[in-house]
Symmetry: C2
Subunit: 82 residues, 2 copies
Amino acid sequence: MPSMSKNLKYLTAREVFARNLKKLRMARGLSQEALAEEAGLHRTYVGSIERGERNISIDNIERLANAFGLAPSKLLENENSR
Amino acid sequence: MPSMSKNLKYLTAREVFARNLKKLRMARGLSQEALAEEAGLHRTYVGSIERGERNISIDNIERLANAFGLAPSKLLENENSR
């Protein structure tokens, strides 16, 4: 379906994670600072992750997933490719 | 179900990833060296990831997922908690 093609472009794992993180954070009404506090990370670090600037590690993926009460795999799921 | 309790212990994201990686690699009949080559990583690095010794980054999670032709989220899925 050509009309959907812009939603089906290849996203890197970083981009998928960044998008999921921001979406979840906003859905919960959390500031970057509040999420960072909950996950034991720095506010500016959360911001840079949401911009896809940092190569986040699996331990920090887990910290953020725990802050949301979700499985780490959920934060890596690409909604457009399921 | 008490008889399943040993399968339901909490596994860290590293442990889940390590287990999935090894299981997939062996299911495909690949050596650590062959997988490392395919993913553009070092053989000893793949070994240390399978032992849960390294805090792997999202970019390297993606390299390994690509080597298997799977979504990165798949390598983080905990079979025991779905």
